[in-house]
Amino acid sequence: MTVSVYKQIEANKTKTWLVMLFFSLFIAMVAFVFGKSTGNGLSWAGIALIISGLMSLISYYNSDKMVLGISGARPADRVRDFDLFTVVENLSIASGLPKPKIYVIDDNAPNAFATGRDPEHAVVCATTGLLEKLNRRQLEGVIGHELSHIQNYDTRLMAIVVVLVGVISLMADWFMHSLWFGGRGSRDNREDRSSFGAIMMVVGIVFAFLSPIIATIIQLAISRRREFLADASSALLTRYPEGLAQALEIISNDRNVLKTASNATAHLFIANPFKDKGFGTKFSGLFDTHPPAIERIKILRSM
């Protein structure tokens, strides 16, 4: 049992590096194609590599602050947020983790997330809606889930993925802009714009459309599997899967939408903060950051 958990953590750490490598290569390739098709060649790829490298490093060390800044959280207070504070304390004891920093977001939508590059720099954050609507046992289930994300190093992997996905979207934007407004620089070496250039141009446009979508799908696929694992670890930690099952029921039935969540932070939360709006049902399975709550509850109840 314990062995498999440690293996999981090792696998996750390795995966973090692989993801960083894969994304950097992907970005370099995309940049190369963009560069070729706009006539700027390798310099684009170089710049893109440097930028993605810098972004990875920045996100690696500052992901917790960045996320907290975006979501407007305040530090939790032991007296005011007694249940949240003590539950986090208790489950940290149970899992042998150092106590993470605890934050609260003033929002009626019940939700929670964890972030940070390692257990020493971890942050757990809950909304006031969650604290009001759940009892202590249900809250334990949710916090157990979040602590498992920290313990499994999911938070590190996801923090990096977010930023890298962001870089790819940014590059696609640049490319589309340079198509409309650019082209001046390449006028001198127009002879380069042979049929190869034209093909690259088409490829570049296709890439520009596809890359953010591909990047997002990768991000989602990574994140969904983790939710099941974190649910299971939470049940193991609290020895009470029913608590988390009830909490998920309450959270998924709640109609409040989290105001502070954006696409960039959606996968961090315990349940999808957007309540399946927007995308057509056909794609919803592919684009969900979380497995359906019903499925998760069913699995928890069968434990």
Binding site: E89, N90, I93, A94, R239
Partner: protein
């Protein structure tokens, strides 16, 4: 020459195995020790809360003397206990007496409305959870250490290196749930 090489290789592997095993066991044993101190901290925290609780109950329910005395006695026993098994027993005893105390408190509406008493009740129930979780972590550490100690072939040499199995901090999970529900 070939035989010598073989002996050297086997000997090398044996040394490597013993080396790794020793380090693993030391690490696991330290983890057990550390998780034990975690329980100790929480038990002490619990003991520290009791006198305040007894004081605040005394103010409202003077003639529940025997209940209060039992709680105080259980606390003293807990503070005197040293081994995991003794502490587990004393802790269970204290839990029992506290249950009686809170049941009795139900008969005193004024006490139940007292902010100080409510705060203590919350703190105690939280400490109860903390003890339970610390115990869970301790038992997991002991389990992994003992397993490492007793599987083959580790069992053949671990004893000779001076390692012995650790005690579990025994208490049933149901008891934890029952108590916490009671406090809610």
């Amino acid at each position: 020459m070939g035989a010598l090489l073989l002996i050297l290789i086997i000997g090398g592997f044996l040394i490597l195995y013993i080396w790794i095993l020793y380090n693993n066991l030391v690490t696991a044993k330290l983890r057990v020790k550390e998780s034990w101190s975690q329980i100790d901290v929480q038990l002490r925290r619990r003991s520290d809360l009791i006198p305040n609780l007894v004081e605040s109950v005394k103010g409202y329910a003077k003639h529940e003397k025997s209940v209060l005395e039992n709680v105080t006695k259980a606390r003293t026993d807990l503070m005197k206990a040293s081994s995991p098994v003794e502490k587990a027993k004393a802790d269970n005893q204290l839990t029992e007496t506290l249950k009686t105390l809170f049941a009795v408190a139900e008969n005193y509406p004024q006490l139940k409305a007292n902010e100080n008493f409510l705060q203590l009740q919350r703190e105690l129930s939280d400490t109860e959870d903390k003890v339970a979780y610390a115990r869970q972590f301790y038992n997991t550490s002991v389990l992994s250490y003992n397993t490492n100690l007793q599987i083959f072939p580790n069992v053949l040499i671990a004893k000779n290196m001076g390692f012995s199995a650790e005690e579990f901090f025994a208490a049933t999970e149901e008891e934890r749930k029952k108590v916490s529900v009671k406090f809610e």
